[in-house]
């Protein structure tokens, strides 16, 4: 995602329940989220933000199906169509014997694609520079970032943040990255 064209109004929280409630409140207040950041998976936070269910399941399904197809067609081709041989008096097309490999290839291709698909959907890749709005956001801090669009009600946002025990409230430039800030000894 490119740099947000607008400034961000950020609230930093220290507790997941506060964050969750604040997020819900922001949404109800009709404030537009840039994003919410959490150091660990907080259940319900994505729903609270109003995010839809992830499409990564489709990647898994399609690629898993592809794995099944490759396995079955490949084995059928190799052991029946291309060169049927008499192995232990068994038939050239022993479907029961295909089950294990079919299953494994389904899982293999489905699984690997799920991972790749997930990273692709998140736009994560090796070498990407992480953009942080707060130094502690991967440690113990939760950040709610709201877009300062033209009709942004800063007053209301600030009120919600404070109500939910925000530890820090700040407005950040579009290009701001807390990772570039000099170390404050916070990670000592």
């Amino acid at each position: 995602m490119a740099k947000p064209p607008v400034q961000l109004f950020c609230g930093v929280f220290g507790d997941e329940d506060d964050t969750l409630d604040a997020t819900r409140a922001c949404r109800e207040a009709g404030l537009e989220f840039h994003d919410v950041y959490a150091p660990y998976a907080v259940h319900g936070l994505d729903r609270a933000m109003g995010l839809p269910f992830s499409k990564v399941t489709w990647v898994t399904f399609c690629c898993g199906a592809l794995g099944t197809t490759i396995a079955l067609s490949g084995m059928t081709y190799a052991s029946w169509w291309d060169w049927p041989v008499n192995v232990g008096g068994k038939e050239a097309l022993p479907f029961p014997a295909f089950v294990p490999i079919t299953f494994e290839l389904t899982v293999l291709i489905g699984g690997v694609c799920t991972m790749l698909g997930m990273f692709a959907l998140c736009l994560l890749y090796p070498g990407k520079k992480a953009r942080l709005l707060h130094k502690g956001q991967t440690d113990d801090k939760f950040v709610i970032a709201l877009k300062k669009t033209e009709d942004f009600n800063e007053q209301k946002a600030r009120e919600i943040f404070q109500r939910h025990h925000a530890e820090e409230i700040a407005t950040r430039d579009p290009g701001y990255n807390a990772a570039d800030e000099p170390a404050t000894g916070g990670a000592a």
């Binding site: 041989v85 008499n86 192995v87 232990g88 008096g89 068994k90 038939e91 022993p94």
Partner: protein, 989 residues
């Protein structure tokens, strides 16, 4: 030794000269490297993808006449592995013999060829051979040697010592030598039958060994004669014996074979009824038997023996009932006992029917009296010149040590030999003889049957025919020419009688048996009566030194194939041992492998040796049996484990020499047997000898079989037609094999045939101890109680168990468990019904071997290679050499099957005649127990045998559907209650 020659491959041998140039010794640096190398090379090629390795070919300048590279030519010949003189077919390819097979046309051996006969190839290519003329302390030229020896023999007082020489021309050459030089010829056999000839001299006036005709005998009683294994002419006798035991071709009756013996011989293992009888009691039993046949006590009072009167009476009645078709034989070296045997046979009307004096045997011409003369003369210093031709008295005479001493008193000692053995090493001169496969020779195994042998290869080294040497030293003109000339002239003048020489060479023999004129001598009963054998000598332990089935009298001790071939009853290879009965071992407190010390006074000499004990069920109590033939100290690398870099031969000396325990005149040797402390591992290829109540080797009795032809083979099997899979169809040929357990006698000849045909490596004692022998074909033995219950290997119930042999090779299952599990399709089923193994595809997971219920697959644990590069010449170019890490197994001799198909296509319009293809095991079998053929051809023997009610598949219940099936064994048991027999064996200890 340039690189080019090292990269020559096996195929290129085809382009090499038949006169094996010294270059050949460097052909392919190691025997089994190339697959690894080519495998690597293939990988390298794929990766590198650009360079080709150059292979150079240097064809002969001139094409050898009559040789097409790659084509196998068969030549008739005669085996010289022992004096039995069986007919052989030598398979010669690219100017070198690669295989010996029995000659089916030979009237005596009828196609059988024993392990020793097959193994001769090893002796030919053995790098330890004498390579020309030599003297004791170095090399010599033939001229030097000839000059010295000619001068010595002309000085008089020369003695010529040889083994049995029965060829007419050979005898004539020796006679000519003796006549010219005044030398005396002495022949002796290390394991001979002099007593039989001596007894016939006394009873029939002729110093001959009769020719036994087991094919005419309905009742055979053998007293310690191992006629199927080592006695006189085992291949011939086995063929005769099996002829009366073939129940697959219509016969309803079979012969009855009763064996009395102290140890457990191959013959005893095949007997219908077997009695344990110490050799000391043999004379007494003979007297008893003769008296009972005579109906009075004319042969004196018999001493006490272990055979119950009831048993003996029954046997006497059986013999009487079979008068004219009964035969009693004895392996005794005691002439008095043999006289009684002669009388018994005479009384039974055997002369002229079951034993012949007219075409008497000439297979053991050794004369112990002559030998005694020689020894006396040597001791007295009367021997000026001693020529030892193909004999090794220092090793194989009981008084060998003294012989060696006395050789010092002889002026000139000359050895005419192929190997620098214990005796030749002591001789002043060594005249290198051709190997039997390099020379012309003739034989007369029985009176009137003349056999030839021709060279299968040009002499590899600068050796000379021994007989030519003799003629030369005697100053005969023939001595300057190839011996062939002498032989040919002699035959043309004396034998051929108008017959073309070439046709005699082609067939390999001239049968003049019918033309022998012979008047049947009258039996001299008084001579038999004078025999004094009734007394039973007693002593502590009876020590029996017997001829080894594999090494014979020791002349094959340097042969890896034969060393690795296991004894049929104890399944031990690589060394001899002291065989003791389980009960005796228990009494002595000796476990298997514990070292046992044997000592005795034999003919005034002290004899002693220490060897590991091996339990032999069924051996007589207080009897210690040791094989002779082992303990050679100069039989090449093998004999004393001198091998260095190769994995094979690294476990010390191979056995100990038991010849000192042989007593002259068949005297029984008594001595002390005691635990010597310590133990030594005994290499055996089968450790467990009970069937554990499993229906593997099936059997029935004759009487039951006559009532129900399926008896013994009638257990209910699960439904076998019920299958998940459609059956595969085999449209062309479908190769099948049937093994008749009733005819298989367990001689192991097929095992060696298979080893040679299929380039199976010899792995040595250490690897056998690791249970890694490579044999594709093995003959299992199972012991079982005589009352039908199975013998349990751990706990002996019956002290005299019966044995059953079962050859097991790849069963070529239609539903092969091995094929299913191979991940890389290295083993699949061929369209001709065979389980094939593609070595080059194998990655060596060993899964197939694990999943083989018959355990017939063999894995190349290492790179097995010969230290002698000349041994590579013995390799069959039609079979791949397997590399390290590859699984291998019986291919049912695929190369021979395809060759047979090719020949059928050329000569018979593609129609394969039944019997036109044979496997190596089949072609060597003396009893023709193995039949191979096309199961889809309804008229083939194999298809018919598969319909035989005795036919069964091993492990049929697991539904592997083998292509190899078996015919159940039929025992001609004694019609008597079991309880009585039990009692018979409970009183001797």
């Amino acid at each position: 030794m340039d690189i080019e020659i090292q990269t020559r491959r096996q195929d290129d041998l085809a382009d090499m000269p038949p006169e094996m140039r010294a270059e050949l010794e460097v052909v392919s640096k190691s025997r089994r490297d190339f697959m690894k190398v080519t495998g690597m090379a293939a990988m390298g090629a794929v990766i590198a993808g650009c360079t080709a390795k150059e292979h150079l070919v240097n064809p002969l300048l001139k094409r050898p006449e009559g040789i097409t590279p790659g084509v196998v030519y068969d030549y008739a010949g005669t085996c010289a592995g022992c004096a039995s003189a069986c007919g052989v077919v030598m398979k010669v390819r690219d100017g070198r013999p690669v295989k010996l097979e029995g000659d089916r046309a030979n009237p005596l051996s009828r196609g059988g060829l024993c392990a020793k006969g097959q193994g001769q190839l090893w002796g030919l290519y053995d790098a330890d051979r004498v390579k020309g003329a030599a003297k004791k302390d170095g090399e010599a030229t033939w001229d030097e040697l000839d000059a010295a020896v000619s001068a010595a023999v002309k000085g008089g007082g020369a003695w010529l010592v040889s083994g049995t020489v029965n060829g007419p021309a050979a005898s004539a050459a020796i006679a000519a030598f003796c006549a010219r030089t005044g030398a005396r010829h002495v022949s002796y056999d290390a394991c001979g039958s002099h007593a039989i000839a001596a007894a016939h001299k006394a009873t029939h006036g002729a110093h001959v060994i009769p020719q036994y005709r087991f094919d005419n005998a309905r009742v055979i009683v053998s007293l310690d004669a191992d006629f199927l294994g080592t006695w006189i002419s085992p291949m011939q006798f086995a063929a005769q014996w099996a002829q009366n035991r073939d129940l697959a071709s219509g016969a309803r009756e079979m012969s009855r074979h009763i064996q009395f013996e102290a140890r457990y011989s191959l013959t005893g293992a095949n007997a219908d009824e077997r009695f344990r009888l110490p050799n000391a009691q043999r004379g007494a039993l003979l007297v008893d038997l003769a008296n009972k046949l005579a109906g009075d006590k004319r042969f004196g009072e018999p001493g006490k023996h272990d055979v119950l009167p009831g048993d003996l009476d029954r046997i006497v009645n059986e013999l009487k009932a079979a008068r004219g078709h009964a035969l009693v034989v004895s392996g005794s070296d005691n002439a008095d006992q043999q006289k009684l045997v002669n009388w018994i046979n005479h009384n039974l009307g055997a002369y002229g029917t079951t034993l012949e004096l007219r075409n008497h045997s000439r297979q053991a011409l050794g004369n112990d009296n002559d030998l005694a003369d020689l020894l006396k003369a040597m001791e007295g210093g009367a021997v000026k010149t001693l020529i030892l031709m193909g004999v090794n008295p220092v090793y194989d005479l009981p008084e060998g040590a003294r012989f060696r001493e006395w050789m010092g008193k002889v002026g000139t000692t000359v050895a005419v030999t192929t190997h620098l053995d214990e005796t030749a090493a002591e001789c002043a001169w060594v005249a290198g003889d051709h190997h039997a496969l390099e020379r012309w020779n003739d034989f007369e195994p029985v009176r009137g049957l003349y056999q030839l042998s021709q060279p299968a290869i040009r002499p590899l080294y600068k050796t000379r025919h021994g007989l030519q040497s003799l003629l030369k030293w005697a100053g005969e003109a023939a001595g300057n020419k190839d011996y062939r000339e002498y032989l040919k002239t002699w035959w043309e003048n004396n034998i051929l009688g108008g017959l073309a020489w070439t046709s005699a060479v082609e067939t390999g023999f001239v049968d003049g048996r019918a033309s022998i004129v012979h008047n049947m001598p009258v039996m001299n009963e008084d001579a038999a009566k004078a025999a004094d054998t009734g007394k039973v000598a007693t002593g502590d332990f009876e020590i029996v030194a017997y001829e080894s089935l594999n090494l014979g009298d020791g002349r094959h001790a340097g042969n890896g194939w034969l060393q690795e071939n296991a004894d049929p009853t104890t399944r031990v290879n690589w060394g001899n041992y002291v065989a003791l009965s389980p009960h005796t071992m228990e009494t002595m407190g000796v476990k298997e492998g514990d070292l046992v010390k044997l000592s005795a006074e034999v003919d005034g000499r002290q004899a002693g040796l220490t060897l590991p004990a091996v339990r032999q069920p069924g051996q007589a109590e207080k009897v210690a049996a040791v094989a002779v033939g082992y303990g050679r100290t100069r039989a090449g690398k093998l004999s004393h484990g001198m091998g260095t870099e190769e994995l094979a031969f690294t476990d010390g000396a191979i056995g100990a020499n038991a010849f000192p325990f042989v007593a002259r005149g068949g005297k029984v040797v008594f001595g002390a047997v005691s635990a010597a402390g310590g133990s030594s591992k005994v290499a055996r290829i089968q450790e467990h000898d009970s069937q554990e109540d499993r229906p593997l080797a099936k059997e029935t009795t004759l009487s039951q079989w006559q009532k129900n032809p399926r008896s013994g083979n009638d257990e209910e099997l699960p439904p076998k037609e019920l299958t998940l899979w459609r059956k595969w169809e085999y449209k062309g040929h479908k190769w099948e094999m049937v093994v008749d357990l009733n005819k298989c006698m367990g001689c192991n000849a097929c095992v060696v045939a298979c080893n040679i045909e299929n380039n199976i490596p010899v792995v040595g004692k250490k690897e056998v101890l690791n249970r890694r022998e490579m044999h594709w074909l093995r003959i299992d033995i199972y012991y079982e109680d005589n009352d039908g219950s199975k013998y349990d290997g751990e706990q002996t119930k019956d002290e005299n168990p019966a044995a059953i042999f079962q050859p097991i090779m790849c069963q070529h299952c239609e539903n092969a468990p091995c094929e299913t599990v191979c991940p890389v399709l290295a083993t699949i089923h061929s369209e001709e019904g065979l389980n094939t193994q593609a070595y080059n595809r194998c990655i060596g997971t060993r899964y197939c071997a694990n999943n083989c219920p018959y355990k017939v697959r063999r894995f190349n644990w290492f790179t097995y290679k010969h230290s002698d590069l000349t041994m590579n010449l013995a390799l069959n170019p039609d079979v791949t050499i397997r590399s390290q890490g590859v699984m291998e197994k019986c291919s049912m001799c695929a190369q021979r099957l395809y060759e047979g198909k090719r020949m059928a296509a050329l000569n018979n319009g593609g129609k394969l005649k039944d019997g036109a293809v044979t496997t190596a095991c089949q072609s060597s079998c003396p009893t023709q127990a193995i039949v191979v053929g096309d199961g889809n051809d309804g008229d083939s023997r194999v298809a018919k045998l598969r319909q035989n009610p005795r036919n069964y598949q091993v492990l049929a219940e697991i539904n592997t559907r083998p292509a190899v099936t078996y015919l159940a064994k039929v025992r001609n048991r004694a019609p008597r209650p079991v309880a009585e027999k039990k009692a018979a064996h409970s009183h001797d200890h």
